[in-house]
């Protein structure tokens, strides 16, 4: 009998360990890729040392396609600045930190960057949920942060962004637009242009997906369409048959997914396999070639921030320069926004220093100068309003046709 007692205890201990492992899994590894971005020219005066532009984005894991695009585009901007001697007396470098779309890792990355006195600003994050944990850490040290991709409204204007907007962090800016514009654009397209009447909504439960889905719901109902059901899927789910079976009897004619492509792609495919032939629509989080590779089908839709990068005149130089660098990964949905974010940091830094020396006391001036920053960028005119939001409100609706994303409508 003693033997069995021991076994039962082991089983119980194992349950505890399993619970612990679940928590641990959320952390994963912390892979660091640091520095060494700027191939500075000998002709520039770099006698005062190196200043660092930080990057916080998912460099590994399922969103690495987007994250690497952010990192590479930042590196491109920094390399160009070094070639042009944009900041007198200093060499610029990139320190890219991996957040694996995980708020805890994002906080670690932000802490790490904030202990380096040479970090002038940070480009990132990709995920709104990660931004929530990164913002306060950087703000505490007055470190400038410009996100190329966070579209959640509350990050700049707070919880009551529609009625009583209040600036959250004076260190935080973004070059992309927000969900309160993106959601309605998506809903308008679905209900007015595509004539959908019954929309099913599925989210991944994260900050971005939930916020976007709320905006879509509001606008779709305003336009007279019905939201027939709203479901949530797990972040790590791969088998959506349960949710699909739940959606099926509600007979939707379109599905809006608030989340990102690692779930959206398979969901689209499994919907089709289950005999539900309706388009899946998502926001900028599913606008990636990987969505199609993972199962996104012809007819699926996405809104994304800005005008199509490849077609924008102001973006052509960026696209060419990016190609010339032969990065392993494409610039993805947020490349141009990251490039503009990095340039806003560098440009404002040059204005702030104006030939002088960098020190912590310059951070306040740097923030003021970013607020006043105005320049032509890869995504159009780059400037920020009093909340830190981009003044660029352009959105584009894309559709998958013949296995590729193509722009169908640009608004704003």
């Amino acid at each position: 009998m003693k033997g069995r007692d021991v076994r039962n205890q082991t089983a119980k201990a194992a349950v505890l360990v399993a619970a612990g492992a679940l928590v641990l899994a959320a952390c994963g590894t912390n892979k660091t890729e640091s520095g060494g971005g700027g191939g500075g020219q000998a002709s520039c005066d770099q006698s005062k040392g190196t200043l660092v532009v930080g990057v916080i984005s998912p460099l590994t894991g399922e969103l690495s396609a987007l994250g690497k695009g952010i990192e590479n585009s930042t590196r491109l901007a920094v390399d160009q600045a070094n070639e042009k001697c944009a900041v007198k007396g200093y060499k610029l470098a990139v320190d890219a930190q991996d957040d694996q779309k995980n708020p805890t890792l994002g906080a670690q990355a932000a802490t790490k960057l904030s202990t380096d006195p040479n970090v002038v600003g940070v480009v990132g994050t990709l995920n709104s949920s990660v931004a929530q944990s990164v913002q306060p850490i950087l703000a505490q040290k007055k470190i400038l942060q410009i996100s190329p991709a966070n579209t959640n409204d509350t990050l700049t204007k707070g919880k009551d962004f529609a009625t009583a907007p209040k600036r959250q962090f004076d260190t935080y800016f973004r070059t992309c637009t927000v969900d309160s514009l993106q959601g309605p654009t998506a809903a308008d397209y679905l209900t007015k242009k595509a004539g959908k009447k019954a929309i099913a909504i599925v989210t991944d439960g994260l900050t971005y997906g939930e916020g976007l889905a709320d905006e879509v719901t509001k606008q779709a109902q305003k336009n007279g369409a019905k939201v027939v059901t709203r479901e949530k899927v797990g972040e790590k789910d791969t088998d959506f048959s349960g949710v699909i079976a739940k959606i099926k009897p509600t007979n939707p004619d379109a599905l809006f997914f608030g989340g990102q492509y690692p779930q959206a792609g398979p969901l689209s495919k499994q919907l089709k396999n289950a005999g539900i032939n309706i388009p899946v629509m998502g926001g900028d989080g599913i606008f990636d070639d990987k969505f199609i590779e993972l199962g996104g089908k012809d007819g699926d839709l996405a809104t994304s921030v800005g005008a199509p990068t490849e077609s924008l005149d102001s973006a052509k130089a960026f696209v060419e320069a990016y190609k010339a660098k032969n990065y392993k990964e494409g610039f993805s949905a947020y490349g141009a926004f990251s490039y503009d974010a990095a340039n806003a940091i560098i440009g404002s830094l040059a204005t702030t220093l104006n030939g002088g020396d960098w020190s912590d006391s310059k951070r306040a001036d740097l923030l003021t100068n970013v607020g006043k920053y105005k320049s032509g960028g890869a995504t159009g005119e780059i400037a920020f309003d009093q909340y830190g939001d981009s003044t660029n409100k352009v959105l584009t609706v894309y559709q998958v046709s013949s296995g590729k994303w193509s722009a169908v409508e640009t608004t704003g």
């Binding site: 089983a11 088998d239 079976a245 009897p249 398979p266 396999n273 990987k290």
Partner: protein
């Protein structure tokens, strides 16, 4: 009614997947009282083994003929899973055979992380999700209004057949008797001429082979795989094994189907919907551990693998 049946069908497919993994958990536990947390990763590695076979070994002419491609991929997945399991047993667990219980348990978690990261770093592009070919017939099996993909039906069938075969093997064959002997009393079994090392390795091999089969079939059912699929399914499988009474083969399979059904039916009918389905699974586990710590079949059946 249609929805209920459809969710039951979905639950059975999930249960079949979990069952194939849970058998490995429960067998290893039955023999050496080790909760092999890396077993979920063996399943994942098997999936990637099948994927590698498809990508780099199968000639392109065969790829579209499932009756050739699928068995070869299964073979590839099983070989990879078995090799990994044998290495794992030899270098990670055997040196700790006489160490305190907690040491191999922690080692198992270490091995689990190692395998996850190894795939992410060394398998080309596996740092993000990879499409897995739908090798089996691309069709839906329809019974009335409910439909399940052919791959899902195959998964259920294979899972049931393999669990029956395994139970028979353990209760009828010479090697199965040796396994049960080691499980009951390793020292006496050794005196009777049973070689424990051989039996333990065989246990790992059997468990890994089942996980490998499960991994490849699951991959072609889901058609998207990444290095974390083993973790989640592994936790479910472990839960299933505990639920059914760890060490008990039949219990593991029944536990797996119960968990599959709780997940889909709980997501459909219980408050909170699909966002709370995990809650119900672990709630049931806690209740079972409180009121019946030995698991559902832990006492009644003494057939230990």
């Amino acid at each position: 009614m249609t929805t209920l049946l459809q969710q039951i069908a979905n639950g059975l497919v999930l249960g079949a997947t979990i069952g194939l993994i849970a058998l490995g958990y429960t067998m290893v536990y039955g023999i050496i009282q080790l909760i092999n947390f890396a077993h979920g990763e063996v399943f994942m590695v098997g999936t990637f083994g099948g994927l590698a076979t498809f990508r780099w070994i199968l000639p392109s002419g065969i790829k579209s003929q499932w009756y050739l491609a699928l068995p070869l991929m299964l073979l590839g997945g099983v070989i990879v899973a078995v090799v990994i399991a044998v290495i794992m047993e030899r270098f990670a667990y055997r040196p700790l055979r006489n160490a305190p219980r907690l040491a191999p348990l922690i080692t198992a978690i270490g091995v689990s992380f190692f395998l996850q990261e190894a795939i992410r770093v060394w398998f080309p592009n596996a740092d993000s999700a990879q499409p897995f070919p739908l090798v089996f017939i691309d069709a839906q099996v329809r019974i009335g209004d409910i439909s399940v993909s052919a791959s899902g039906v195959l998964l259920i069938a294979v899972s049931i057949v393999l669990s029956v075969l395994l139970t028979q093997y353990v209760s009828r064959s010479r090697m199965g008797r040796a396994m049960r002997a080691i499980s009951q009393d390793p020292d006496t079994a050794r005196l009777m001429g049973v070689n424990p090392d051989r039996v333990i390795v065989l246990t790992f091999i059997l468990g890994a082979a089942l996980a490998g089969v499960g991994g490849v079939l699951y991959g072609s059912y889901i058609t998207n795989v990444d290095n974390s699929i083993g973790f989640q399914n592994g936790i479910f499988a472990f839960t299933a094994a505990v639920l059914g009474g760890i060490g008990n083969l039949r219990g593991a399979v029944i536990g797996a189907f119960i968990i599959g059904l709780i997940k889909t039916l709980g997501g459909q009918y219980l408050p909170g919907g699909s966002s709370y389905d995990y809650v119900w699974i672990f709630l049931v586990l806690i209740l079972v551990l409180v009121f019946r710590p030995q698991g559902l079949f832990g006492e009644a059946e003494r057939v230990r693998a």
